[in-house]
Amino acid sequence: MADAPAFEYVCNELESRTDLDRLTARGTVRLALKQAGLDAHSVTPGQLGVVLDKILPAELATRGVPDAASLVEALRSGLAGLAVETPAETPEDVFARLGGSA
């Protein structure tokens, strides 16, 4: 299954704006997503925005990326411009509907 456009965008931007190579950039974002309980193939721009705010700065700092805060801000701005695709239904969506809260 292909990775989500939001994931691809953040990974590509990280690779081009920092010294991280492709593998490290993707691994960093995957680790951040895993901490957030999210998957690279289904993450939405909105969810990734929260990950950028709350998890990614620390991950970037541990990898020696300078000025992580402004980098994250730039990534967030770019994410906001991404077209929102209709995401595939998640287990949480199904259980929300089946239990009557959707």
């Binding site: 929300a96 509907r97 089946l98």
Partner: protein
């Protein structure tokens, strides 16, 4: 009817009733949404609890000899249960692993195994001595049927509780609804209790303690059946007071 059969009847009856009520509610939901998950889980629960178990009882599976059985009712009951487990497998596949080939293969395997169990069970009862005990005559096939459920319970338990663990991390970031996160836990816990129930039942039957004849075995399984019923109802038909409790607890955890 002995005390063990009465206990088995109460435990099994409550569970079958819970499956029927939840199954009907989910089928009504499917009528509005036309989505596959509610059709599969609703039909699965109804086929097992609302049609399969009652037909097995009508067929006389608890009676004392093969000669008293109605093989037609038993056959229809077994077929209904087999289709029900298959529908539940499709539910787990489509909800948790929709892009995985092995999920489809497992569901197809469930259907094929259910067919073999149905034919094999009926054949053993048909060919068995008329005065023999039906539970003993078809013992292999009843264990095989339990194993079919066991596979689904294990699979569903792993998927639901894994998703629950991920959903809790999302919840900590404000990306999930606490009620739905709890629902994933309840469904997983129901499956774990199902695994426990089947393991106990098979172990007891292995030692010659059938829940149809042994009160302690029947009591254990009846208690599990009641627990599973409660978890299923809380998952799909939670009372408002329970929903409020979950929300309050989540809010207290945040502060």
């Amino acid at each position: 009817m002995n005390s063990a059969q009465l206990l088995s009847g109460i435990g099994g009856g409550v569970f079958a009733l819970a499956e029927t009520v939840v199954g009907l509610r989910l089928l009504f939901l499917w009528w509005r949404t036309h989505q596959l998950p509610e059709l599969m889980v609703g039909a699965g629960l109804l086929l097992i609890g609302g049609i399969g178990y009652p037909l097995m009882a009508v067929g006389g599976i608890g009676r004392s000899s093969n000669g008293e059985l109605s093989l037609l009712a038993l056959g229809l009951g077994l077929a209904s249960i087999g289709l029900g487990v298959t529908a539940l497998s499709v539910f787990t596949w489509k909800v948790f692993r929709p892009d995985r080939f092995w999920g489809a293969a497992l569901s197809l395997g469930t259907l094929l195994a259910a067919g073999v169990i149905c034919v094999g069970g009926l054949r053993s009862l048909h060919l068995g001595p008329p005065d023999a005990d039906p539970v003993a005559t078809g013992a292999f096939w009843w264990v095989a049927l339990r194993m079919l459920f066991q596979v689904w319970y294990v699979w569903t338990g792993i998927e639901s509780l894994s998703e629950y663990a991920r959903a809790r991390r999302r919840l900590a970031l404000g990306l999930s609804d606490p009620v739905v996160v709890n629902r994933l836990f309840l469904w997983g816990a129901m499956a774990v209790l199902g695994v426990l129930n089947n393991t106990i039942a098979v172990a007891l039957e292995w030692r010659g303690l059938s829940p149809m004849y042994d009160p302690s075995a029947a009591l254990t399984l009846a208690a599990n059946g009641l627990g599973m019923s409660a978890l299923m109802l809380l998952t799909f038909m939670p009372p408002r007071s329970y929903v409020r409790f979950v929300c309050r607890r989540a809010a207290a955890t945040e502060t």
